[in-house]
Symmetry: C2
Subunit: 344 residues, 2 copies
Amino acid sequence: MPSVRDIAKSAGVSVATVSRVLNNSPRVSDEAKRKVLEVANRSRYVATVGKRSTTNIAFVYTGESSLGSPFDATLMRGMALGMEEFGFDLMVLDARRARRRHEAYSHMFMRKGIRGAVLRTTAPTVDICRQIADEGFPAVVVGSRIEEPGVSYIYSDSRQTSQEAVDHLTGLGHRRIAVCLNIVDDSDHADRLAGYRAALASAGIEYDEKMVVRATALREGGAQLIRRLMGMSPRPTAVFITDPYTAMGALNESRKAGVRVPEDLSIVGFDDAELRYMVYPEMTAVCQDALAMGREAFSVLNEMLSIKPAPVSDQVKTTSRSTVIRRSMQTWLEVHDSTGPCPP
Amino acid sequence: MPSVRDIAKSAGVSVATVSRVLNNSPRVSDEAKRKVLEVANRSRYVATVGKRSTTNIAFVYTGESSLGSPFDATLMRGMALGMEEFGFDLMVLDARRARRRHEAYSHMFMRKGIRGAVLRTTAPTVDICRQIADEGFPAVVVGSRIEEPGVSYIYSDSRQTSQEAVDHLTGLGHRRIAVCLNIVDDSDHADRLAGYRAALASAGIEYDEKMVVRATALREGGAQLIRRLMGMSPRPTAVFITDPYTAMGALNESRKAGVRVPEDLSIVGFDDAELRYMVYPEMTAVCQDALAMGREAFSVLNEMLSIKPAPVSDQVKTTSRSTVIRRSMQTWLEVHDSTGPCPP
DNA sequence: CACCTATGATGAAACTGTTTCATGAATTGT
DNA sequence: ACAATTCATGAAACAGTTTCATCATAGGTG
């Protein structure tokens, strides 16, 4: 564990200069900055003020993630439970804004006294998760299944329940069942599509690519979806919508377009909070427990942090990759009023 | 600004013991703990590690506040904007869990490296806000108007718009207009009641206490409300519901009870996020911009923190009360489909 | 051109808070 | 009753940050 004094000696400057570089003080030459950052990053420097051990956990989002979404909000509430239970403090951080140029993610975390991170990511920013895992920093991805080596995650296994959802539709006599996926592909939506296909297969219905529709994860995406479905011929009599907001938008647009739910169209949606009760009609949905996921994230990090890191010899710089923990949470199907028998 | 060494001298112990007390180390006698905490609290101790100045802002809720509500979620998104703009980091904190016994709030904040606080409170926990203000810690209450000396706040002035909302109803010919308030009284709901009364007065309608109904700020509260209203005689033809979730619950229960909205009952709700678009029919509502409030909170704290505190002489311990800043944000009325002409 | 002044980068030293280690006191087990 | 263990504590060592003095350089003015 190098100190500022070690770095100073190695970089050929004073500790004062090292400290200035590490804190972005304006009065420092580019040359000194370059030298210090080079040594600091190479030696995996972590700031430990007076050997103080902080207990901050960061909730890291990546700018494109929707911090105010019901899922994130519920997640946050779950994390608040974890804070109490495991005695951590929670910091909210935008991974891309908070980091400085040429700074390793783990360095950025340590600079802020963060011991572990809960990562929230979307498909385009998966590389951030990979990089953090590569640096060996204790982190867990929540709400996405990132199949990269070294990446820990907690996700909801929605494949089985998605299949049940579509089984529910075939059980009601539906044969022309559409599925709506997000415009960006991720493992979750792949799971749901797999569940959809399995259910079709078990009901002896042939898979038809034209029944797979893409929409944005917004109200407007759901509206678009309904307009698309109504233009199809033959029309689907049911649709499985894999995103909460899209499902909500679809329900509302149906009403505007004069499509009766469930008489003309059965809709199975997705819910990670309470949305299914807010819409009309109350929505049959595949549900996941974002609250429990938030709490579980802290449990996982607690486990990671209680494993003592292997002592790194001064000579060999091993990449001390942290333990990989992967957990899957249950989802369940709730049948409400947006699904009904297939129209004749 | 006392240091651990000053406190040690004053309390008659070593700096090591002071540090142990301040960090809840188990190996310390009650006697030493008492002496140190006494001096630390009296001298307004703040931890400044190596004169490092942290830039953490805390989002403080009080356990009873609903962290996962749309309002708080949107607020959080707004604060994320403020983080970027003003260069702060955000920490999430439960005021009551995080604090230790006999610890002043400002001490607790400083122990965690927090420079300023955004407070989210409900009526029963107003005293926490008052106490933090009394300690002179830079803090701003968001979403409540706390008329206590020294307390800064940002709130939505919903009085005027509430009046407009009820004007809208009287303009549609309604005469028997109920209002639904939260079961706990706070200044916001008082404002909305005042707006309601003003609108009645200007329309020449007499104020009737029986038309003031209380409900919890939950879906179920809204359901209860509808059952109450339907049992009244004569029945109100319109209701102004001052909480988003209550309004949502009322809309859904109306449908279940066979009450048509707006044909039988006009509903004006309240919205601080996007709820008005999620329900059916889309809800006429008094809207506030929680996003802007979150951002504004950081602006206010930035202002507070850039004012240098008066230097405290070693002899006179003045209570350095921080500047009081109060801002009000605009609310607006959006007319959608849950209000209509008064039935004959 | 010479000289003074302002600015900027830097390091030694001073300072802040935390932890380790040694020490003496108190408690407990046999 | 005595040894062993545990506990509370302070001195010292250590980690990071900032202040202050120093030196170099650039720029304006006679």
